[in-house]
Every structure is written in C-alpha cells, then in structure tokens.
Amino acid sequence: MTLTLDRRRPGQADAEAPAQRAPRYRAQPEKIAAGLTLLALVVASVLSLISVDISLPRMTASWENAARFFDRVGVISFPAPGELLYLTALTVGLVLLGTLFAAFFSVPLAWLAAANTSPGRGWMGLARFLGVLARSVPDVVLAMVFVLMFSLGTLPGILAIGIHSIGMISKMFADAIEQIDEGPRLAIRAAGGSRSQEFFAGVLPQVLPSWVATVLHRNDINLRGSVILGYVGVAGLGLEMSYAFKSLNYSLGLGIALVIFALCVVMEIVSSAVRVVMLGQAPTGRGLGDRLLRRLGVTGVTADASHRPWTYARVRNAVWGMLFVLIVVGSVWICDINWGDFLTVWSYLPETAAKFWPPSFGSYTAPVMLAAMGETIAIALAATILTIVASIVVGSLAARNVAPSRRVRSGMRLVLVAIRGIPEIILAIVLIVVTGLGAQAGTIALAIGGIGLLGKLLADSLEEVKPGPEQALTAAGATRLQVYAGATVPQGMKALVGHSFYMLDTNIRAATILGLVGGGGVGYYLLNAGQGSRYDLVTTIVLMILVSVLLVEGLAVWMRRVFR
C-alpha cells in the first residue's frame, strides 16, 4: 500500500479491512432501468442522425447548392414600406394579444393547478390535464381549425396562439405559485383574510416578477412561431412570406424572412429591457425613462403623506404602464377583430367537430403514416442529440462559475442570445429553400435553434449550483476541470436531464411543424390533409403527435424522479 494512511494510523494494519466491512454498492433496479432507457435513447438518436444522413460531404454539397441558388435569386427585395409597416404591426399586435389572452386565462388555471392553492386534488388534476392538452396540440393545428370556424382575419391566429400558450404559461405560473414563501399567505389567513385576499395580497406580489418574465418569454416564442401560422392562412408577415415562396418569388420571400429575423431580435432586446425595468430590484435611475423625465423637469415631490409621493420610480412606472396600455389598444385596433364571430361561431361548432371525428388514415395506409411519424421523431432525436452535445460545451462556457474568463462567458452568452434571436422556422425555410434538403435541413435548423434554448437553460442551472462544494474542491487542490466534473456537473446533472427531455418534447412538436414547410416527416401530411379538407386525417396525425409528446413527458417525469 503506497498510501501514507497506514503510517498515520498505526492501529489500522490492514487497509483492506474497511472495504470488506463496507456495505456492498447496490444500484436500485429502477435506476438501472432508467439508465438503460437513457442509453437506448442515445443509441436511437445516433441511429437517427445516420438515417437523416447528416455528414460533412453532404453539407459541402448543399453549400454549393446554396451558392448556385443565390446566383439565381439575385437581389433580396422587400414589400413596399407602408405595407411592410402594416404587416409588421399586425404580426406584433396579433402575437401580443394571443400571449395576453393566454396569460389572462392561465391565472385561474395556475391557481387551480398549484398544489398549495388548489381547492382540491380533482381540480388540480383537471387544471394540469387542460394545460398538458393545450401544450400538446400545435398552434398550427388550432389555427387550421379556427380558420374553418371564424371568418378569415386575425382572430384564428390570436386564439390559436392564445390557447396553445396557455399550456406553457399556466404550468410556469403554477410552478411559481408553488415556490412562494408560505409565510405571508399564512399571516394574511391568520389576520382573517379571505381566499381571494390571500391570493391578491399574499401570492400575487411574490409571483408577479416570475409571471412577467414568463409572459415576455412566451411572447418571444410566439413571435418566432407566428411565421408558420401564415402557412395555414393567418394574416401577417408569415402569410406574405408563404405566398412569396409559393409563387417562387424567392427574393421577396428571403426579404420578408430577413424582416422577421430582425423583428425577433428587436423583440428579444425589448423584452429583456422590459424585464430589467420591471424586475430590477433597485432602479438605476439612468434608464431612458429617467433621462426623459429629468429633462421634462419631473422630480421626486412629496406633498401629502396620505398620497404616495410621485418619485422618479413611480412616474417612470406609470409612464411605462400607460405605454403598455396604448400598445395593447393599438394591437386591438390594428388587428381589426371581427367581434361578431364570437356569436356566429357556435353555430359552426357541431359541423366543424363532425369534420374532425372520427379519426382515420384517409387515403394513406397506417404503415405510411406511422413511418412519417417515425421520421418526425427521428428528426427530433437527431436534432436533440446534436443540441445537447453543443449546449454542454457552449452552456458550460457561458456559466460564470465554469468559464475560464469573463470574456469567454460574455462571448458565449452573446452567441446564445444571437441564436435565440433566429426563429428556427425561418432558418429551416431558408435552409430548405436554399439547399433543397428535406429532413437534413430541418434537423440542422432544429439543432442550431435548440442550442439557444438548451445552452441558456444549462448555463443558468450551472450558475445556480451551490458554490460551497466547488470551493471545497478548490480548497483541496483540485484543478478547474476537476472542480467542474466533481462538483458542478453532479449538482447540475438533474437539471441537464430535465432540460434535455424538455428539448426533446419541444423538438417533436417543432419537427412536425417543420414538415409543413418541407422539412420532412408527418408535418407534410398534416398540411396536405388540412388543405385537402381531410380533417379526419388531421385528427389522426394530432393524436399521433399527442401520444409521442405524452410519452416523452412521462419519460421525463420518471427520469426526474429517479435521478433526483
């Protein structure tokens, strides 16, 4: 035994002894099963990568395609300025109203779904089920249905975005409620407050920052997703773009794609600015609003103790608040909602429902449809594994406690923001149009888009691990890499597994939607069925997607439980 342990502890002659007395390491059967499932998923993902045929020669070949393509397209063109402005405002307004619709209805749903506020287990189950249902049905499918039921215009889009978003927003609202400090609520109850008083005074103030962040985040997602709604007839930039590509006017199509990309980046910047303004605990007093107010000569004046003084912060918040109301009113105005539809829609309801039921495979056979669904899942798996590998590198380097220097961290964070700004559907459309590759282009688009999300989630999770153990390892003389592997990764592992399954879940739905624009898989059939009025087939496809997503969700719940 080379170790100095024996020298230090003369009483312990035989170093083997404690090993014999130690309990045997027993892996729990459930852990083994979960590990094998994970392994199987990884193998399936690698096989999917091979089946989607992502390889360097293929990519260089498509690069040459791209060069030829751009030679043909020539100059990128845009719609007329007035029209462009209108379309942009319409798209933003529609998305904003959809998100607000979802936020409004998510509040009661979240209250029912959160374990600590729910009036009963039955209500909780129902609310959670509704949330999962809303999340599982792609907004494109909802838009298809609503386009049938409502007159053309913005309402189908608003409702599709709204109802689909309820799924995610209500879940995150409920999570926020479950994480509150119960003390204040208890204090209000102890003081004789009613249930609603408890909610508005005890719960709401605590969850509001998190809720605002959720809504802003969802709004960004919805803006990026709104493009695809154009393909099923919802007004806005997406519709114009789909028209342009369908009429082979590539220069206009690419121009609109560029506009959407710019819009998404701007929205990302605006929403992060709003987050800082609304959620920053200490206002800096150096923001745009503050400077404006100072120039106008508004200062903090205290007049009467019974009124809250109009301080900088209050004036600024009031101004921002009014601006927000104006934007919402403007959105309603520009969307030109046909309110009468809400009365007439009910008469169409039975008729529409009858079109979608019972589900059938239509003119296709079951194996064809299952193979198409399989291809969608393969695209999702291949994209997810690529995303995970890239995100572990980028996300780790973007975490403050892992990055070797501040500069590396900021650089990586910038990369992540830039990637998040690109709507993956635009990336996919451009890749498909440009390189002419179906499943391959879709996979690459999803994989790149995923890095923006997973990389950020991972970086945040790594930054949130307890710093103490990392420091303990440093104190024991470990290198940076050893600290990363020994303290940071084990603490962040659970989050990585959870985020990865969330990514897979997102990717299955996204892969379906990519099919609509020619990215391969079941989405192609979905679009055809919708346009060919084969709504029973639409139902079948939606059910297949639902089953896949629920399967992944179930797996994720199981994994999170096993790998606590």
């Binding site: 404690p18 090993a19 007395r21 605002v212 003389g477 050893q482």
Partner: protein
C-alpha cells in the same frame, strides 16, 4: 498573569520551540469598504491546536481562507509549510492546498454524489484530469477513502447520497474528505456552528482526536468561548480584523477572556455584544466574505430557470 497584560505578545511555552508551519506577517485585507484583516500576524508551530476566537465579522474566516490561498492579502505575507501562499499559482498552489485540509461551516458536500465519492474528491489533487463517478478512482484510493470513513464512523453510509445525511454526519464526511488529502495542516471554519450541541461535541472531539493521532496542526475558528477554552491548546482572539489576544489556554478562565475583550473594547455597546455572543451556545453566523446559507433546494427543472429574471439582472 503576565501573558494577559500584553495580549499581542506571542505565547510562551514549548510550542514556540518547534518549527513554525504557518507564518502570517502583517496581513491586511479589504473587501470594498470593509476591512476584514488589519495588520494581522500569527505564527503556528507544528502540532499545535489553535482556536481563532472572535465575533462574526472579526476576520476569522478571512484569515483561514488566506492560509489556503483562497483569498490573497492586500499587504503582508502568508507562509504555509515553507511556501509563500500569496505568490503561488497553478500547480504549486494546488499542491499546497492538497497538504492543507479545510473543513467548512456548511460542510459543502456535493449533495447528489455518494458519501464515498465526496471523500474521494479529497484526493483530486493527486490524480490528473477530471473524474466522473466512482470508477475514475484507483482501487487503493477507494480503500483509503473507506478507511477514513470508518475513522469518522460512517462506513455503513459509504454508498448513500451525501445530502441524505444529518448535519453532524455531513460534517464528519467533510472531515473524512479533508483526511483523504493526508494533510499536514487542518483548517476548520466554524465547523460546528450549524450543528446541534450533541453533534457539535462529537465533531469537535473527533477533530481533536484525529489531530493528536495523526500529528496534525489545527487552526479552527470558533465563536463560543467555553468551547474554545476546553478544546484548544492556544487561543488567538480577533476583533475588527486585528489580533487582540494570543495565549495558551492553560490556566485561562472565561473571566480572563472576558477581561481581555473588555480591555480592548472601546464602547459599552461592543462589550454587550461580546457578552451576548459568549452567552450564546449555538449560533449560525455568516461572515461577510463567506456566502450566506443558501437554501438547499435545487429546483427540479426547468422552465422556471428560464423565466427567472435573475439572468437579466446580471
């Protein structure tokens, strides 16, 4: 008592005859506005068991962190085991840290890992490259780790997750991890401040026993005078980052310590504070350079982190 009238004088006795393993000379350290250490000096001989005594914020933790190179002095020098800590970087620094075990107030175990893996992380400075899981460590390292676990009485828990243990047990794992380094010096920063009285007694007894068995030099910060008197060989008192007391515990009574604090205390408010502190048996006191007690709960997923505005505030 001659030693007490001049508190700044080093202690007399046999300890001084031995070679010094820790020498701190005139170290000053500031964090922004606050001065954590003010011209602090300290010499510790091999095999000594020294208690750093002081209120929260008196600079105990900062001094300990300087000894392991976790903090660097603004001025002054820190020499540990013959090396000038403040000048070391990279591999020599890690090699020195390997010879100095550190026990933390909040244990700082990697919660999701097993107890055995946590102990093995104490051997990281001896291996090259990162380690994921148990299979990354050589068999003799694993046997040694099991031996240390038996020493702290936790062999039966070797394959249990670290965060399923009680506080006292976790601290014993922390001690085993430090022992895994085969250290020459053991530093302990308020090792029992987060524990109940019974676990405290166990842990303190264990540290002393191991120190004597393995001939370790120990520097341990505490804030309870009673415990410091009964446990240490020598007491170094800190106040506002200055060393105000340095004496052997032999023949020293609580009354003496109180007198010394009384003599150097300028305002009666501070005196009250000290009395309150001394009267407190157990108190959880975070010191400013050390992170406050983080809530253990690592939120399970997911979307929530995404929504968290924290990132945007950075």
């Amino acid at each position: 008592m001659p030693g007490l009238t001049k508190p700044l004088q080093p202690p007399t006795g046999s300890a001084l005859a031995a070679e010094p393993v820790i020498t701190v000379r005139g170290v000053t350290k500031t964090f922004g506005e606050t001065t954590a250490l003010k011209n602090a000096s300290l010499t510790v001989a091999r095999g000594e068991i020294v208690v750093l005594l002081g209120l929260s914020g008196s600079g105990k933790s900062t001094l300990l962190r300087h000894l392991d190179g976790l903090d660097r002095p603004d001025t002054g020098t820190v020499t540990v085991l013959g090396a000038t800590v403040s000048r070391l970087t990279g591999r020599p620094l890690r090699a020195l840290r390997g010879r100095v075990g550190f026990v933390f107030q909040q244990f700082e175990l990697v919660g999701p890992l097993t107890v055995l893996e946590n102990v093995l992380t104490g051997a990281l400075f001896r291996v090259r490259g990162p380690r994921l899981g148990l299979w990354g460590y050589r068999r003799e390292l694993k046997l040694a780790a099991l031996g240390h676990l038996e020493r702290v009485g936790l062999l039966a828990h070797a394959y249990q997750r670290a965060d399923t243990l009680s506080g006292g047990q976790q601290q014993r794992v922390g001690i085993a991890r430090a022992l895994m380094q085969n250290p020459d010096i053991l530093l302990a920063d308020e090792p029992v401040a987060s524990l109940d009285p019974e676990s405290s007694a166990q842990v303190m007894a264990l540290i002393r026993e191991i120190a004597i068995d393995s001939d370790l030099t120990v520097v341990c910060s505490l804030h309870q005078v009673d415990l410091a008197l009964s446990w240490g060989d020598r007491i170094v008192g800190l106040r506002h980052g200055e060393v105000v007391l340095d004496t052997s515990t032999q023949g020293l009574s609580k009354q003496n310590v109180m007198e010394i604090y009384g003599r150097v205390t300028t305002s009666t408010g501070e005196l009250d504070a000290i009395e309150t502190e001394i009267g407190t048996v157990e108190q959880n006191e975070p010191e400013e350079p050390v992170e406050p007690d983080e809530p253990d709960e690592q939120d399970e997923l997911d979307l929530q982190t995404f929504a968290s505005a924290r990132d945007n505030r950075r």
